[in-house]
């Protein structure tokens, strides 16, 4: 994880550890990926505990978690697919988080999230071309 590693944990940090690999849900109840990594920030106040700055989601962040050769290979794929030139995985600001339960609910729409680029691409390029893609479900 990013941030000061190995520090004695405050309740916040432990809670954050539990955030990893949690499901993200957007404001319409749609699934929006998993929390692949968490970004910390430490305020200038020496007594302050590290706090969560952003949630990271996407292949790049996941590659970090997986580590090893396979992780590096995944990361290189993500770099090639990413629209942006920089290597940072998609960030979801902590302020966008609505609630935390067994899944983490966001105030945003998943179509607005960078981490859902892949979903949108597949939808636009492949799925929407097939008749019945917009067909009502249950």
């Amino acid at each position: 994880m990013n941030g000061p590693g190995g520090e004695p944990a405050g309740r916040q940090v432990w809670a954050v550890l539990e955030l990893l690999d949690r499901q993200l849900v957007d404001r319409d109840g749609r699934l929006a990926g998993k929390i692949d990594d968490v970004d910390f920030v430490v305020d200038d106040d020496p007594d302050a505990l590290p706090r969560v700055d952003a949630l990271l989601s996407g292949l790049g962040a996941l590659a970090n978690q997986i580590g090893g050769d396979f992780g590096r290979w995944l990361a290189s794929i993500e770099r090639r697919l990413a629209a942006r030139r920089d290597r940072a995985p998609s960030r979801i600001a902590w302020s966008d988080v609505k609630s935390i339960g067994s899944s983490v609910e966001l105030a945003a729409d998943r179509d607005d999230l960078d981490s859902n680029r892949g979903e949108r691409w597949v939808r636009d390029v492949i799925i929407d071309k097939v008749p019945g893609a917009g067909h009502e479900a249950e």
Partner: protein, 409 residues
């Protein structure tokens, strides 16, 4: 009405998941070779799947999360990925076998080479997943699968020596002239066929698709306690039919056509027609389940939107995985690779991967934070723990036995 149709989820899973091409072949082949002396392996497998499917269904009802969703959460990204790799590979292998199984069933009624049916079957599987409602899918194939009950009628009609059958079933022994390793290899195959991972992936995801909640826990139990024992009974009828017809003659079951023979002998053309309808229902149902499970596992690991409960365009990557898996099944199928062999490998490798699937379920089912009051009771935990030990032993023994017995020859 939802309750009545809710029971069909269990029946479909049991039919498609329990009595799929793997079970058709494994139970028949075992009955032909060992009579009823491996019936215990089927019973053991049925109890196992009942215990774990109930847990998976309960977890899905209470948390609205499916099995693979929780695998990553519990095991972490890395171990979860290994789990995904193994589970996905095995599920695709099973899908290949099921699609071939449907094609073989059509060959039985038309004498047209099954290879020609494979692309059609694949397309049909995709089309049904794309357009047909989940509940319709369940109901139709669940009910159609009940045609397999004809195998029970057939065994009765064959007037077997029941006491002899019972004796062999209850006093299992390795027949003279047969080796122990092969005996246990067949036992593992039966076990793997009964507890194939995709069954719980499908069942738990299906529970979420059907929007089960805490109030559906009774429904969950009804599904599991009704559906899987029925599947087990059908498996045992297949085994008994083969035991009565093939075992005395020293015939080995290597083809799907042979699986239908006891029914044909007992009940004539009508029976044969029913059992082939049953084959189609079971294998097609299983093909649907495995194709969906390919989508479920991958989507649930990565957190993508999955399921038939939303429009296809809102679960784009899920549907991409599903259609890609079907394409792979078609491509591999038409290479004329022996479908019975693929079936055998799929069930044996499933046995090797069982702990991966079932361990996370057990962990979550015991987590009071998630489950509240609906955690496992002590009795259930005792049984489940026994199974975890058993599954680990089975998993460890599988590959060595496969090599030692040259895959059961």
């Amino acid at each position: 009405m939802k309750k009545v149709f809710g029971v069909t989820l269990g029946i479909l899973t049991a039919m498609g998941g329990f009595v799929d091409i793997g079970d058709l072949v494994a139970n028949s082949a075992t009955g032909a070779r060992y009579g009823m002396s491996l019936a215990w392996a089927v019973v053991l497998g049925v109890v196992g799947i009942i215990v774990f499917a109930e847990m998976a269904g309960r977890v899905a009802s209470v948390t609205q999360r499916a099995v693979f969703d929780l695998v990553r959460e519990r095991l972490g990204a890395r171990a979860g990925l290994v789990n995904l790799g193994a589970s996905f590979f095995i599920t695709v292998l099973t899908l290949i076998a099921e699609v071939a199984g449907v094609a073989l069933s059509f060959q039985l009624v038309s004498d047209v080479n099954y290879l020609l049916f494979i692309p059609l079957v694949g397309f049909a599987v995709w089309l049904v997943i794309w357009r047909v409602k989940f509940t319709t899918l369940e109901t139709v194939f669940g009910l159609m699968g009940l045609a397999m009950i004809v195998t029970i009628v057939a065994i009765v009609q064959l007037h077997p020596d029941w006491s002899s059958l019972w004796h062999h079933a209850s006093h299992p022994s390795v027949p003279p002239g047969e080796g122990r390793p092969t005996y246990f290899y067949f036992a593992i195959a039966l076990f793997g066929a009964a507890m194939t991972p995709y069954e719980v992936f499908f069942f738990s995801s299906g529970a979420v698709e059907e929007k089960w909640t805490r109030s559906d826990l009774v429904l969950n139990k009804a599904n599991v306690y009704l559906g899987f024992p029925l599947g087990g009974l059908l498996s045992l009828s297949l085994m008994a039919g083969a035991a009565v017809v093939f075992h005395p003659l020293g015939v080995g079951v290597d083809f799907l056509s042979q699986v239908a023979l006891p029914t044909s002998l007992a009940l004539g053309k009508v029976g044969l027609a029913f059992v082939i309808v049953g084959f189609v229902a079971c294998t097609f149902g299983a093909a649907l389940e495995t194709a969906l499970s390919c989508g479920y596992t991958m989507s649930q690991y990565f957190g993508w939107q999955w399921g038939k409960l939303v429009r296809p365009r809102e679960a784009a990557r899920f549907h991409l995985v599903v259609v890609s898996s079907i394409v792979v099944a078609i491509v591999v199928g038409v290479t004329a690779i022996d479908p019975i062999k693929v079936t055998e490998y799929s069930i044996v490798l499933s046995a090797a991967a069982l702990p991966l699937t079932y361990f996370p379920i057990l962990v979550v089912a015991n987590d009071a934070n998630y489950m509240g009051d609906d955690v496992n009771g002590p009795v259930r935990n005792a049984i489940a723990t026994f199974y975890m030990v058993l599954l680990t032993v089975v998993a460890a023994a599988t590959i060595p036995l496969m090599i030692a017995t040259k895959a059961g020859s």
